[in-house]
Symmetry: C7
Subunit: 75 residues, 7 copies
Amino acid sequence: MSNSDRPLDILNDSRNKRIMIELKNGRQFIGVLKSFDIHINLVLEDAEEHAEGTLKRKIGNVFLRGDTIILISPQ
Amino acid sequence: MSNSDRPLDILNDSRNKRIMIELKNGRQFIGVLKSFDIHINLVLEDAEEHAEGTLKRKIGNVFLRGDTIILISPQ
Amino acid sequence: MSNSDRPLDILNDSRNKRIMIELKNGRQFIGVLKSFDIHINLVLEDAEEHAEGTLKRKIGNVFLRGDTIILISPQ
Amino acid sequence: MSNSDRPLDILNDSRNKRIMIELKNGRQFIGVLKSFDIHINLVLEDAEEHAEGTLKRKIGNVFLRGDTIILISPQ
Amino acid sequence: MSNSDRPLDILNDSRNKRIMIELKNGRQFIGVLKSFDIHINLVLEDAEEHAEGTLKRKIGNVFLRGDTIILISPQ
Amino acid sequence: MSNSDRPLDILNDSRNKRIMIELKNGRQFIGVLKSFDIHINLVLEDAEEHAEGTLKRKIGNVFLRGDTIILISPQ
Amino acid sequence: MSNSDRPLDILNDSRNKRIMIELKNGRQFIGVLKSFDIHINLVLEDAEEHAEGTLKRKIGNVFLRGDTIILISPQ
């Protein structure tokens, strides 16, 4: 990872790459990051919901509201 | 999905199309997106509430407050 | 429903008509919409609280704070 | 009720009159509205806390923080 | 109580007087109001925490964050 | 305590002195206040976490986010 | 620790050093701080999630949303 100055740079570097997202309610999503904004609202492509390490369902394209997100990790 | 720059573009592309919405309290709605704003407040037409994959009730037109929404997925 | 551009239009079209409101804590109110603002604060006339499809109590005029509202549906 | 345009008008019309207030935690207060502001912070005189339709305690003058309020109804 | 126009006037009139404060988590404090601001952050002197009508502990001077407060009542 | 006009004055007077902090989730920290800002974000030095009156662990330097804080009391 | 004036200085001094972070839901992360902003959004490198003092999983690079954070401590 480059020594970037702003946290959102990690999202900018992850465009069109797979990321994992965990929400405040414990749900986990994996998909290709297509877009995000300063509220951390974001859109995933080929999104899947995972639970305890296994695939729970395929969702396709999905908009996730930023204020429900706890963490985002590039895969 | 086009390689859009802003998350709200997915909502703009979904006007007059069916979307699925999940709320923070676990409730799920499916309907035709008629309008939305930057707070993610939105209006659905022909809306239905679903629970565990089955139709729970038909609501017709409904306004959903953006701050209760977790995710939105085009159907 | 007209193909309106803004979600609040559905409230504007519902002035002096009956609407159903559900709150974050699960409570449901039905009444005639008299006024609303951009925070979705609103005032109902002839308001009734309903629970599981039956009338729970008559409240008359009531002010509901917007940040407690999940959904609003014209009746 | 007059056909007012703004929800706060119902509070303005209730100055020096008895109102009932319900909070997000389920508590209910009845008292004479002395003042309010745009955050729905308000002050009641001769306030009483009620629970399940019966008087729980007399409080006298009380300031209630607007963000804890669900509904307000003139008595 | 004077027929004041703004809710914060009740706090202004309570400077150097005893007030009772209840927090969102149910805790209750009694003390002499020394200062407050528009967020309802406030400082009490000779503060005591009470629970179910009895003294729980003496705290001395204490800063309380406004967003945790439900109600304030002059004693 | 001086008859200060602003609640944050009590924090300003507590720089380099021991304060006790309670969080919304019930946790309690004691340490030397090094800095704070208008959001009540603050940094403690020689911080300890206490639970039910006994030392739970030593943390050293710690940044506490203001929106998790309920009360602050000089020791 | 220097007698800094602003709480965020402790984060600035921790760039490229290991920090421990605790979230509102009780989860704990340890990693090298790469960047942060005024919302306390931050990015960790070589991040690990810990639970009750033991390593739970390795995450690598991770973005943590500031509004979920309770405390941050340099290691």
